[in-house]
Symmetry: C2
Subunit: 209 residues, 2 copies
């Protein structure tokens, strides 16, 4: 199809599609004449993925470029590529100094990982993200929030189990990495929305009339 | 304290503090002379909240200004203010058209809310966010992801219960709204990091050697 048709099908304006090609997010179309390129279903699918990461996942264009690199890397062991893709999906790591609070938060996270029996390396970026969040909570006077970590971890395990069952039942091997990206970003959006709805319900019980 | 001391205590540069005052995120200090303002612990606390929302929560300055408005609104019923604060914390609502997929997603969300017995209004922004995420999943060929909604909802209820118990045990009434903001944004960061760690563990079981 021509770029106009690709734009019509996906709702993404033509100049935006050209921008994604320039930024390396979308492979260029195949030239059918010096001034015209043809696009196919792989472009349409990739474009929908980019828009979902942008609009629903809230990722920036540079982060999407990095994530798509992992999606497109061939020949690496599945578990390894899954990890690489997931690692690029976290928030940017704020520089919050290297004081006592931070080293205590790191210990808390490592203890949690050991207690849950999770097989993750100690330098996993998500472990660092978690420590950052605990430092921020501590600085805001909510160090006690760490008491909830096992409740949160129970819930996270339940969601991860459902996610991986879905991957096993529904996803062909060649779509695995793309599905991890979609599932990580859109699954977060789904869970965060559900948590906010569940908060409203609990809050209505406790504070409503 | 002077602005230099406030900067030293919080790690936020003086020009950035001045920028937050200009943007209405931080109340101005009390003028102690025509060229000098004094700041106190409420400024320090507010500054830490702004940085946590920015750095860990990934919110933009404009979104933070809106959220802080809700935090500072006096005299509204607690449940109402909690809802208003939470409603401003969602991602920006993408315009994803008004086709069949979207109306189907809205129905799915309303059915879920009814099935769970959640007391939330049908136009809650989190319900709209959830429908958006389902539309994006559908467009990427993952309509079947909706099968996981009850697993996700179970986990969300568990987390919401822990959150509200924490609020009941730990939080004074005057800190309620600020705590909801902190808990919503940093709690999402905590859960998302834990979910990514739990993924690594499940994926090691399924795909590791």
């Amino acid at each position: 199809m021509r770029i106009g048709e690709l734009s019509r099908r996906t709702g993404v304006p033509v100049p935006t599609i050209k921008y994604y090609v320039r930024e390396g997010l979308l492979p260029p179309g195949e030239l059918s004449s010096p001034n015209q390129a043809r696009y196919d279903e792989t472009h349409e699918r990739r474009l929908r993925l980019i828009r979902a990461l942008l609009d629903v996942g809230g990722l920036k264009v540079a982060a999407i470029a990095e994530v798509l690199q992992a999606v497109d890397e061939p020949g690496r062991p599945v578990h390894d590529v899954l990890g690489a893709a997931a690692n690029r999906l976290g928030p940017p790591q704020p520089d919050d100094g290297d004081d006592d609070a931070r080293s205590e938060a790191r210990d808390t996270v490592q203890e949690l990982i050991a207690r849950r029996g999770w097989r993750v390396s100690t330098d996993n970026p998500a472990a660092t993200d978690l420590a950052h969040a605990l430092v921020a909570l501590d600085r805001l006077g909510h160090a006690a929030f760490a008491e909830l970590l096992d409740d949160y971890a129970d819930a996270a395990e339940q969601v991860a189990r459902a996610d991986l069952d879905y991957v096993n039942r529904r996803v062909a091997v060649e779509d695995l990495v793309e599905t991890v990206v979609i599932g990580t970003v859109l699954g977060e959006a789904v869970f965060n929305a559900l948590r906010r709805l569940a908060h409203v319900d609990r809050s209505a019980q406790q504070f409503g009339d």
